[in-house]
């Protein structure tokens, strides 16, 4: 396997320190520290314009950072990042393609500079995804082109795969197939391997990612293990009150009961409990007769989008 050098021993596949990028006055990515570990899929999530693509381009050397440093697969990111791209494959989010080439010729172009058996592996993947080999790429749908780029990024035997929305535009069955390929790839890797995956489909990220990195407006908002997030999700409670309910008194009561309020959305307050069982808190709340009665209580596993909205107040996912 290419890569997995220094980073393999400490288990860190991607290490970024103070990595930042600005375009003129606009700060696309604020200084960010990030560790992506081998042996797991890390989900990169955030609304449009949050800096996901910028971060991924920085990590493969396609964009020079304005500040900071990064080490990918044990290789320090310097200059234009050729050494990094030898140990890390990348599927871009932008679907550029050469329409005049057929699928095999296009894959050959995409895996140029890689080991020779890479093309065969890419052809296996596109075969599994059901793409027609002899057809010119200009006749491909958006999703088919996306799968072609995905196959080319999955083919090399590298330590790190960085995939920018590989399931965007795919139908549910193809999305499931792509996710299955990702999981198999990680499970069958002969050496250390890590996958950094961005997606707008939070459900699928939630399903396969062991860790979630959340960006918003170029800022790293959260970096937590999916299991920890799930634990926090189990402690989230949403209670809707009447529009006229006294919010200050409600928040004070929540505080007294040992929970923390995460904020209001309309007349609904999101609450993070101190333990997994909501009953003591709810009993305590209901027993306070001076407070208005709740109109609706939502408890249980929330979607990732709801979680991020409740935990961090980010809309637009």
């Amino acid at each position: 396997m290419g890569g997995g050098g220094q980073g393999a021993s400490d288990g860190v596949a991607i290490e970024a320190r103070g990595l930042a990028r600005s375009f003129g006055e606009r700060q696309a990515l604020l200084p960010l520290d990030l560790d992506v570990r081998y042996g797991e899929i890390t989900g990169l999530v955030g609304p449009n314009g949050s800096g996901k693509t910028t971060l991924q381009r920085l990590l493969v050397g396609l964009l020079p950072p304005s500040a900071g440093r990064a080490r990918i697969g044990g290789v320090e990111l310097v200059g234009e990042g050729v050494a990094v791209r030898r140990v890390a494959s990348y599927a871009p989010g932008e679907i550029g393609h050469y329409g005049e080439l057929d699928l095999e010729a296009h894959l050959r172009f995409l895996v140029a500079g890689r080991e020779s058996r890479c093309l065969g592996r890419a052809l296996e993947i596109v075969g599994r995804l059901g793409l027609p080999r002899g057809v010119r790429v200009r006749g491909f749908s958006h999703g088919m082109k996306r799968q072609m780029l995905f196959a080319a990024a999955m083919a090399p035997d590298v330590a790190v795969r960085i995939l920018d929305e590989p399931t965007e535009g795919l139908d549910p069955s193809k999305r499931a197939e792509v996710l299955a390929i990702l999981e198999e790839d990680l499970a069958s890797a002969k050496g250390p391997r890590a996958i950094l995956l961005s997606s707008h489909h939070l459900g699928e990220i939630d399903r396969i990612a062991a860790r979630l990195v959340f960006l918003e407006r170029g800022r790293l908002l959260a970096d937590e293990r999916a299991a920890d997030l799930a634990r926090r999700a189990r402690r989230l409670l949403r209670i809707r009150f009447d529009e006229q309910a006294p919010r200050e008194r409600l928040l004070a009561a929540i505080d007294r009961l040992g929970a923390s309020s995460l904020g209001w959305q309309g007349s609904t307050v999101a609450i993070e409990l101190a333990c997994d069982d909501p009953r003591p808190f709810l009993a305590g709340l209901v027993s306070q007769k001076d407070l208005p009665p709740p109109e609706e209580i939502a408890y249980g596993r929330l979607s990732l989008a709801e979680l991020y909205r409740d935990l961090y107040g980010v809309e637009g996912l």
Binding site: H106, F109, A112, G113
Partner: protein, 255 residues
């Protein structure tokens, strides 16, 4: 342009065939031209053209061949080819949205640039040489009296190639910074056409770039060989343009 060498081969072949066609017609016509050169001189509408025909009359076969193959053929078709081959080299990737997949492979930008540059440059100059080397054969086929040696023809092709490469390299550097190959091609073709037009204006002819590849210079090559004072600056322009292109591509965002 996912396969630069393959694309360059076909482009070069097409442009070479055009160049060869023009040359064949010119050489086949030479005996008639030699007979009627006096009439051509009297019919020439511009003083510059009268001078040109006069130079052809004095220079004989070599002046005529050099005028047809280099001053006319290469300076028109060759310049167009130089601009068209270079304009899309990098800007074409941005224009069709393939810049990111072109740059995202584990291949250095220096190598990407050099491959594109070399493929286009070879496609541009190869036809100048191979069509020029067919001149002795054509002279035999069309019973053109006289003899032109391969040494002289090669030196002349080298001199011409230096100018074409300079035009190609400047356009290539523009392409390394641009997103619209057609716009680059139109601008450079407009400027080169303007330069060619300047050649025909008696008062301004010395400001024309194509003065470097007119009949007088090819007559001088026949007498004294290549003039480094002309060729080296052109090579320098190419080298500087390539260096600028390299610098621009290294800074280029994958958008």
């Amino acid at each position: 342009m996912p396969r630069p060498w393959w694309t360059a081969f076909w482009a070069s072949l097409g442009y070479g065939i055009l160049l060869l066609g023009a040359l064949v017609a010119a050489i086949a016509y030479y005996p008639q031209f030699a007979e009627n050169i006096g009439k051509f001189k009297s019919l020439a509408p511009l003083a510059v053209l009268k001078n040109l025909v006069g130079e052809l009359e004095e220079g004989g076969l070599w002046a005529y061949v050099a005028g047809q193959q280099f001053f006319k053929g290469c300076n028109t078709l060759g310049t167009a080819a130089a601009v068209l081959f270079a304009a899309g080299a990098v800007a074409g990737e941005a224009n069709r949205g393939t810049m990111e997949i072109w740059l995202a492979r584990p291949i250095s930008r220096t190598r990407l640039l050099w491959t594109r540059y070399a493929a286009g440059a070879l496609a541009l100059v190869a036809p100048v040489f191979w069509t020029t080397w067919t001149i002795p054969l054509q002279m035999r086929i069309f019973d053109v009296p006289g003899e032109l040696g391969y040494g002289l023809l090669t030196l002349a092709a080298l001199h011409q190639s230096a100018l074409l490469l300079a035009i190609y390299s400047v356009t290539f550097a523009c392409s390394c910074n641009g997103r619209h190959p057609l716009r680059i091609a139109f601008v450079v073709l407009f400027l080169t056409t303007l330069q060619f037009a300047l050649y025909l204006v008696e008062q301004l002819t010395h400001y024309s770039l194509f003065r470097l590849t007119d009949v007088q210079h090819f007559m001088a090559i026949a007498k004294h060989g290549l003039d480094p004072a002309l060729v080296l600056p052109l090579v320098g322009v190419s080298a500087v343009s390539l260096a600028i292109g390299w610098w621009l591509l290294r800074r280029r965002l994958p958008l």
